[in-house]
C-alpha cells in the first residue's frame, strides 16, 4: 500500500427523502474531485449484507485503505462498518460517517445537497489523517478486595470465593457481621437472624478469604486490574494487589441529637427500644408506647426518605403488642414507605391493634404534660395520647466508612455521602468506576433483603470482569508528551475520572494518563496550558482539516 491515503466514499440512498432532496450526481462529482478519494459509489443500502459484500469487493479492487460512509448516523452505524473494515483487514478507526439521512435530507428541504457536499468534504479531510488505533487491554490480578464485613460484604466475599477468586475482607470493627450482627439483628426477619451467624461462619472458615478485622484501607493506587492497596491492621501496615474492589460499607442510623428530649429512658430510639423489646432480661414494661416517624428526617437538611424506618416501626410495634398485650401502641407518621414484600407486616400490625395517626410536617407532634398531642390529618381531629414511652424513628445516614472509602477510591458521592449508581434508571447496578463495585446500603438506605440481592449481583459482576482476565477500553484516550508537560496539574482538576495524575516532583513532575480509566472526553487536552496532551482520534490535526473544509466551498 502506498503512503498516500486511498479513501473510498460510500453514498447511501435508502430513504425516499434522500433520493428526492439530494442530488447524488452532483455529490458524486464533487466527492470524486477530492484528491485523496479514489472511489465513490452509490448503493441503496450499504449497511445490509449485499452492500457490505460489495464494500469488501471494492476495498480489494481499488486498494482502499480507509472509508467515509455517507448515510445514517455515526451513533447507530459505526459498529457495522467498523466490523466490515476489520473483516477486510483495515483498522476500524480509519472510518468516518456522515449522516446524510437525519442531518441533511430529513431536515433541509432546501440546501441539503450543499450541506451534504460540505459534510462529506469535511469527513474526507479528517479521514485522510486518521490513524489506526488498537484496543487497550490491561491484565487483572485474580484477587478481590471487599471493604466492609457486614451482611452485604460477607455475601459478596462468599460469592466471589465460590467463583474461585481470592478475597480479602477488611472490616473496621473488631468482628465480622456488621450493623445487623452488632446493633440491630432485629431488623432482619426471623430467618435472616438465623442465617446471619451461618453466613459469618461460612466466611470465617473459608480458606480463600483473608479476614482483616479492626483494619482500614488507607490508600489505593494503581488501576483497575492492578490496584495496590495499603491496609492499616492491628499487625501493622499491609500491602496487597487486587484486581477489583467491592465497597460494602453500609449506612448508619442517624443520632437522636436530643430530639423530643431524647434520654434513652422515657424517650428512646428504635434501636434502644429493640434492646428492651427483644430481651428476656429486661424488666421494663411500658403501657403506652408512641412511635414518632421521620424525626430529624425528610427536612431541608436531610430531604430523602430512609425507607427502612417505617418497616422497623411496624415490626417493633407488632412485637410490642405481642409481648405486652395490655399495652397501647400508636405510630405517628407522615407517609408510610413500606417497600415491597411488606404487606404481611402491615396486616400483622393492624391485626395486633396498633393505632395509626398521620400528622402534617408543618405541625409535628408536641409532647406536653405526659401526653403526645397532634392533629390527625386523616380525621382532622386533635388527638392527645398519654404515654410512658416515646420511640423515635430517626432515619439513616451514610456511614463514615462510606465517605472515607469514597474519598480514598476517588469515586463521587452525593451531598449526603452516599454513593449512588451513575444512571439509576438506565444502568442500575453499574459500577462506580471500572473495577470498583458498590453494594448494599453504601448506595442508599435499603432493606437487608435488597442489600443481599445487590451483594450477589455485584459479586458476580466483579467475578465476570476478573474471569475475563483483564480490563479493556477503546483506544480513544489522551496521551501526554512529557517533553512539553510543565507539571502544572491543571489536567488533574479537569479530569472527572481521575485518569490523569501528575507525578511527585522527585518522580519527574509529569502528567501520566491511566489509559484504562480515560474516557477520551478531551477536556484535559483542550485545557492544557503547554499543549502537551493529545487526544487520540480527535487530535488538533484531525479536527482542523474539518474546520477548514467546513467553510471553504
Amino acid at each position: 500500500m502506498s503512503d498516500e491515503p486511498r479513501i473510498g466514499v460510500l453514498l447511501c440512498s435508502c430513504t425516499p427523502q434522500m433520493r428526492e432532496r439530494l442530488d447524488f450526481d452532483e455529490i458524486t462529482g464533487f466527492t470524486s474531485s477530492i484528491e485523496s478519494v479514489v472511489h465513490v459509489e452509490k448503493h441503496p443500502v450499504w449497511c445490509l449484507a449485499p452492500g457490505l459484500a460489495r464494500l469488501k469487493e471494492i476495498i480489494q479492487e481499488q486498494e482502499i485503505d480507509r472509508i467515509v460512509v455517507a448515510g445514517c448516523s455515526y451513533r447507530t452505524h459505526k459498529q457495522i462498518f467498523a466490523k466490515a473494515l476489520e473483516e477486510s483487514d483495515i483498522n476500524p478507526y480509519l472510518l468516518e460517517i456522515v449522516n446524510l439521512r437525519d442531518q441533511c435530507a430529513a431536515v433541509h428541504p432546501e440546501g441539503a445537497t450543499t450541506r451534504a457536499k460540505d459534510q462529506i468534504g469535511m469527513a474526507v479531510a479528517r479521514t485522510a489523517v486518521l490513524e489506526p488505533l488498537e484496543e487497550i487491554t490491561v491484565p487483572a490480578e485474580q484477587k478481590a478486595l471487599v471493604i466492609g464485613g457486614g451482611l452485604s460484604g460477607l455475601i459478596a466475599a462468599g460469592t466471589l470465593a465460590e467463583a474461585d477468586c481470592e478475597v480479602i475482607v477488611v472490616e473496621r470493627e473488631g468482628a465480622l457481621g456488621g450493623y445487623f450482627s452488632r446493633n440491630r439483628p432485629w431488623r432482619l426477619r426471623k430467618n435472616g437472624q438465623e442465617a446471619l451467624p451461618e453466613i459469618i461462619a461460612g466466611v470465617e472458615s473459608n480458606p480463600s478469604i483473608e479476614k482483616l478485622v479492626s483494619s482500614r484501607v488507607t490508600r489505593v493506587d494503581g488501576r483497575p486490574g492492578e490496584f495496590d492497596i495499603t491496609i492499616q491492621s492491628p499487625q501493622g501496615e499491609m500491602h496487597a494487589r487486587v484486581g477489583v474492589i467491592l465497597v460494602a460499607t453500609g449506612s448508619a442510623t442517624a443520632p437522636a441529637e436530643g430530639a423530643y428530649n431524647h434520654d434513652g429512658k422515657a424517650v428512646k430510639t428504635q434501636e434502644e427500644f429493640e434492646r428492651i423489646l427483644y430481651s428476656d432480661e429486661s424488666t421494663e414494661k411500658p403501657l403506652s408506647i408512641v412511635m414518632i416517624q421521620c424525626v430529624g428526617s425528610r427536612n431541608d437538611e436531610r430531604p430523602y426518605c430512609s425507607r427502612v424506618c417505617c418497616l422497623d416501626a411496624f415490626r417493633n410495634a407488632t412485637s410490642a403488642k405481642q409481648k405486652w398485650p395490655e399495652s397501647e401502641v400508636a405510630i405517628l407518621f407522615r407517609d408510610l414507605e413500606m417497600g415491597c414484600l411488606t404487606e404481611r407486616d402491615v396486616k400483622h400490625a393492624r391485626e395486633a391493634g396498633v393505632a395509626f395517626h398521620r400528622f402534617d410536617p408543618a405541625t409535628p407532634p408536641l409532647v406536653e404534660d405526659g401526653k403526645v398531642k397532634l392533629v390527625d390529618t386523616m380525621t382532622g381531629k386533635e388527638v392527645s395520647i398519654p404515654y410512658d414511652l416515646i420511640v423515635l424513628s430517626l432515619g439513616e445516614i451514610s456511614h463514615e466508612g462510606t465517605r472515607e472509602t469514597a474519598e480514598i477510591l476517588k469515586i463521587s458521592t452525593d451531598v449526603f455521602g452516599f454513593v449512588p449508581e451513575p444512571t439509576i434508571r438506565l444502568r442500575p447496578q453499574e459500577s462506580a468506576g471500572r473495577g470498583i463495585y458498590v453494594t448494599g446500603a453504601a448506595h442508599w438506605p435499603i432493606t437487608p433483603e435488597e442489600s443481599m440481592y445487590q451483594a450477589f449481583e455485584m459479586a458476580s459482576r466483579a467475578a465476570t470482569d476478573l474471569k475475563k482476565g483483564g480490563f479493556s477500553t477503546r483506544p480513544i484516550v489522551a496521551f501526554v508528551d512529557e517533553s512539553k508537560c510543565i507539571g502544572c496539574r491543571l489536567c488533574e482538576s479537569m479530569c472527572a475520572w481521575g485518569a490523569i495524575r501528575v507525578s511527585e516532583p522527585e518522580e519527574g513532575n509529569k502528567a501520566h494518563v491511566q489509559e484504562i480509566l480515560c474516557k477520551g472526553c478531551g477536556t484535559c487536552v483542550a485545557a492544557c496550558p503547554a499543549l502537551a496532551i493529545r487526544a487520540a482520534h480527535y487530535s488538533d490535526e484531525q479536527i482542523l482539516p474539518s474546520i477548514k473544509a467546513a467553510v471553504t466551498s
Binding site: V107, T114, G522, P529, Y538, V551, T552
Partner: protein
Amino acid sequence: MTKMVGFVCEWGGYTAADLAGFRGISYPSSLRTIRVECTGRVDPVWMIDAIIAGADGVIIIGCPEGDSRHEIGNFRVHERVRWVQKGLEMIGEEPRQVRTLFLSSEDAEVFAGKIGEFEKDLESYGPPARDEAALEKLRTLREVFAEEKIRWLIGRGPDMAADGNSFGEPVTAEEYDEDVESILKSEYRRISILRRLRDEARSVTDVALQLGFSAREVMLDISDLIGVGRVAIEGHEDPPVFKEVLM
C-alpha cells in the same frame, strides 16, 4: 450565505441533531457540524480557527449543565467560550458569533430552534469584516489562546473562587474577571509584538509605530520576551533590532 460551524458532542448535540432528522424538524442548512466525544474537547483555538477559516458563527452544542456524559466537560467549555467572547470584543469583533448551547439529547426542537435563532442573529450582525487587518487581529488572538498563561488562567478560573489563588488568598469572581481581562490585554500586546518580530528584525520604535503602542510599553514587553528567551537582539546598530527566537 451565512456559515455556521457547530461542534457537537456525541451524546448531546449530535444525538439531538439525529433526533431532529428523525422527527423531520427543519433548521437552516448553513450549519456544518463537527462531532467530538465531549464539548470539553473544544479548544478555544478551534473556535477562532473556524472564524479565521471563514465561519460567520461558531456554536458549541453539548449536554445540559450538571448532566454531561463526561461530568464537567460542558462546564469547562462554557468558561472557555466566555473568554473567547471577551477576546473577540477586545479586538472589535462581535462576541456573540461564538456561543454555547447545552441541551439534552431529546431536545430536537430546541436544537432546531436555536440554530434558526443563531442564523438570524448572525444575519443581523451583518457580514463581518474579513480584511487583512481584521484577520491579523484574529490570528493574534488565536495565538493568545494557545499561550500558557491565558490557558492556565481560564482553566483555573472556576476553581479559584473556591480554592483561592496560589497564595491561598480568596479571589472573588469580579476580581478574577478583572485580572484576566487585563492579562488578556497585555498578552495580546505581547503576541502582537512577537508577530511583528517573526519575519523581520525590527527596532522598538518601528514596532511601536506599526502597532500603535507607546515605545515604553513595547520596550518593556520586548525585554520580558528576551528574559524568557522568546526574542533575541539581532543587530546592535542604532537603534538595535530584535527578532523572535523560533522554538
